[in-house]
Amino acid sequence: MTSSQPIIQTTNITKVYGMGDAQVRALDGVDLEIGENEFVAIMGPSGSGKSTVMNILGCLDRPTSGQYFLAGEDVSQFDKTQLAIIRNERIGFVFQSFNLLARTTALENVLLPTLYNRGEEKEESEYQQKGIAVLESVGLGDRLHHQPHEMSGGQIQRVAIARALINDPVIILADEPTGNLDSKSGAEIMDVLTALHAQGSTIVMVTHEDEIAEYAQRVIRFRDGVIETDKMNGNKGN
């Protein structure tokens, strides 16, 4: 793709749930390579392993076997604390169900990941400025002190995107980010992601909808825990 070293590289990743007869091979040997500044959509039927692979890519989970290199670093055998650090510093995860803290303002939600930053600490005001800037970049400069219950679904998901961006991640992972939204709010979210991509972000997004997948450059289809097809979007591609 666009860069020599891929942001994401997996070799023969498997994920097996349960034991014996109840065993489920959610992922059955996935080789994946995603380069810098790519915008990838992952599609496939329900139960095909999309969320499972996203959780592994997002370091929320570990593969049963196989290797996962994130920006050149093998993270597949990291322990819980090391994974937490990777999630904090390198990954911005956007969920279908938003996952903001209730009774907490947009700005506080966005700054939440900075509480867990390791290394040297910046001035409180510096964090605040950055949080405000990120919220402005997703079009919520006028909603800084609103709580989730005072906002629409689309606005809430934009706060979640802002939170994913606060620590300048190497990749943004979004598992059905528009799944809980009407088509108008969904389009807003896609505009935000498209803009981020244009500014250089690397994005991997799961979706069921073809219209949403249209925004991506590349579409990977899963079936039964393996990659079925991996194509560039015809009308896109730089």
Binding site: A84, N88, F93, N99
Partner: protein
Amino acid sequence: MKPKKVITIAWKGLVKNKLRSLLTMLGVIIGVAAVIIMIAISAGAEATIEEEIISLGSNLIFVQANFTRGGPGSEPSSGGLVYDDAFAIADEVNGVAGVVVEQSSSETVKAGSISIDGVSVLGSTEDLPSVRDIEIAQGRYFTQDEIDRKHKVIVLGASLAEELFGDNPPVGQTVTVGTTKFAVIGVFAEKGLVGDVDYDARIYMPITVVFQKFTPSQFARMIGDRVRLIYVEVAEDAEQNDVILQIELLLAKRHDVSLDEPDFSITTQQDIITTQEATTEAFRNLLAWVAAVSLIVGGIGIMNIMMVSVTERTREIGIRQSIGASPNDIRMQFLTEALLLSLVGGLIGIFVGVGGSWLFNITGGMRTVIVPSSILLAFGSSAAVGIFFGYYPANNAAQLDPIEALRHE
């Protein structure tokens, strides 16, 4: 993570659940307040006992008639103490500073138009003021000569004097006790309550007059000048055990009994102090246990709520994990929440405990003395309780799997 951040996160967690935080703290508040109040009560009781012992007079030996022999129905002459024993002790025992005999009665007292029923009348001897540490405020105390001659003279307790005569000087006035007229020759200074005896509300007169006029029953009149108790004050330079031995030998000879089977018993001030100390110590230990149990109950309350809280906030824990909180970060958050709960609860408990002790005191319910170290103790143990009972729930929270936690509704 920096402590300041941990505390900020934990504090916000508590503030978002104000009511629950408050209810959780209630157990600790009550526990800490209980510790402080209990210790204040037992310190108050100790102080009271100490004062009582001091006001009893120092270096006292109590010689008591032993009623296992010579009880009612038995030969009256066979046992018990008599008035003359007191004089024998005073005359023949070395190292005695004073001897007092008391015989009491309860009579109606009249002065002018004022009449009071059921006044305690104490017949006593010459050394009473010095042995019992009572000061004369006006006039004088009666002499041995007046005792021997059964003079009808009295000394009034401070509050009784005021009740009978108000602001007028009582000395020289006449008071009718029972049916007998007495001349007031003195008034004692205020002494207050010793045990449950109000020294200020009594009349003091020669013991011989009590024998003669107020010995309550026919039986008592027949046994005559028998007394129940002789107080002996040991001289400062004398050996108490030596004095006791001399008294034992003397009384055994006078009563014609063997020392193996005496008709009297001797106890010392020290015996009484020792018994009372043992009692207060048992009391204090009991209170300490009650307080400790209430603190533990408070701690279990914290643990209980923290467990519920961890379950209820599983989603929140998942969110925090997903954006970079490590197991240790989560553990620290919940441990700090438990610690803050118990410390804030402890602080409120200190206020409640100190305020409660103070209230007990001013409402006269119970005497309390606030012990500063009990405040430190209570605060320290509430912190320990917070850490101890917070650890298990915090550890449970830390062990949650991020994906499962996020899936939690």
